[in-house]
Symmetry: C2
Subunit: 311 residues, 2 copies
């Protein structure tokens, strides 16, 4: 295969944020460092390491600033943090993150349950964050991960027109990237293709990552569908850790190990060494004893004769 | 949607054969009847109900003739049986099956392990079966499910040219349909698209079903990939029961419930009522106490507001 034929995929690991904030246990800071180091050693170059929220709401994230400060020491790593509001964004930028991501719900009902704000109030919050970023850290991209873009466990169906209109409004507000999240595991491949195609038509290169859940087993099929229509960045979580505690019945981020196996087996380059990725489960499990981890590829092992690009 | 725009998918349920012959327990004949009736009630119209092999090798299939005789009483159901040799085919045709399926391995090593014959000996066996069929039951189609078409746990990689050449040889031998099986869970979506595209180019409308496994979590993604290149019949197993005992490390048929959910959610018609399909797990579990069943959709439940074509 010639160099020019190579397709690359970016895997954005969300376990240290999305995973850890969804479990009841609290991973000690030193264990987070070891886990993030292991993810980095496996080749991950974009990691969402923390959420800047009040420690009394999410004690799992009380050490967010310390975790960011550690992660920015890893050369070439894009260190992301989730911020739900301006105060969080200020703290994240002060800690030195390279990119911030803001959750904005397509569903009004989910927005109120998740961040106690309407969609419109969240857009206003995003504007404030963008203004602050423009003044204090103009090189730090602001991404929105649009929650419940494919359906909502509270309100049911979410109109596709609403998703696209909200994305356009966010870009007009100065957001650099808008990705779509299947917070509730309701997406199907046909819908994924339709929505990401419309998203790209509406906001062009500002169309961002696919964040899929495996709630009904369709996680990888939905990632494949997104790849087919041009998505090149995928969120996933080592061991499938996490989900959304505010979307009743929802569970299960796409498993990083299985996602990387799929793309590497297809001949695409993730930059990740699967064997080292599987080894990165050890510090996760050591830092969070008793927490179940998932993944079919680690359980079955790599196929005989399988060679990823880095193995 | 106009009638002419509707796409339909055939789900070929293999649980009563592939599933039951892979577990250690033996489901009593009366329970098999109840389970098959429940699958039929859910809308399944193609079921592989038995394997015609010596009872001393597979005691789970000792009642194959009785099960076929029951199943052919269900109007509109295509009753399939697996046969590894001429003797099995004779017994299956005598029992009254509507379609027979023969496993032929693309991998020489797997062929020897699975049926103690070389690939070439199996092609010869297939010719004998076709001759017998032509004389005794000319309307009964003969299908080959090509095992290890996407890789083999024993020999490793299987050359795509070998798969296509074998398919052509089988069609020349009088086989009506050749499907491709990912016996070992090694397939990836790019390979699935390539191989089924080549298969159709080589043998046209005689290209048959996709039989995918979920060993590394890619089962549904591979089915989606097969759908994309024109495959319209998919094997799967209720509760994910089964696998291949002769392919070490392989496990896990695609789960019928998740597969039907994916296609129905995409707006395709399977003819299956998912709620009744999930209800068909009860007689399976009653007839095989303690045997684990899988499936994400039954566990998560259908999404709020979800409507399949028949619900």
């Amino acid at each position: 295969m010639q160099q020019s034929d190579l397709h690359t995929v970016t895997i954005s690991e969300v376990g240290p944020r999305d995973g850890l904030q969804s479990v009841s246990g609290v991973m000690p800071t030193a264990d987070k460092f070891k886990w993030i180091d292991a993810l980095y050693a496996a080749g991950l170059r974009e990691i969402e390491v923390a959420s800047f929220v009040p420690a009394k709401l999410l004690p799992q994230m009380a050490d967010a600033a310390a975790v960011v400060k550690h992660a920015v020491g890893l050369p070439g790593l894009t260190v992301m943090a989730l911020v739900p509001n301006l105060r969080g964004a200020q703290a994240a930028l002060e800690a030195g993150v390279h990119k911030i991501t803001i959750p904005v719900s397509a569903s009004q009902a989910h927005s109120l349950a998740n961040v106690r704000k309407t969609r419109e109030q969240m857009v206003e919050e995003v504007r404030g964050i963008v203004r602050w970023r423009n003044e204090s850290a103009p090189k730090v991209p602001v991404e929105v991960g649009m929650s419940t873009a494919f359906g909502c466990t509270i309100q049911g169906e979410v109109a596709e027109d609403d998703v696209i209109a909200l994305a356009a409004q966010l870009v007009q507000s100065g957001v650099d990237e808008v990705g779509l999240s299947d917070t509730t595991g309701m997406a199907n491949p046909a819908q994924v293709r339709r929505l990401f195609t419309r998203l790209r038509a509406e906001i062009g290169e500002r169309a961002g990552a696919a964040h899929m859940h495996n709630t009904r087993g369709l996680g990888l099929a939905n990632c494949l569908a997104a790849w087919d229509v041009g998505v090149r960045t995928f969120d996933s979580s080592l061991g499938g850790l996490g989900g959304c505690p505010y979307a009743p019945g929802a569970s299960g981020n796409v498993v990083t190990e299985d996602l990387v196996f799929m793309f590497e087996a297809m001949g695409l380059r993730t930059g990740i060494d699967i064997e080292k990725l599987i080894a990165a489960r050890a510090p996760l499990m050591a830092g969070l004893p008793g927490e179940p981890v998932y993944g079919m590829t680690p359980e079955a092992g790599l196929p005989r004769g399988f060679r990823g690009h880095l193995s």
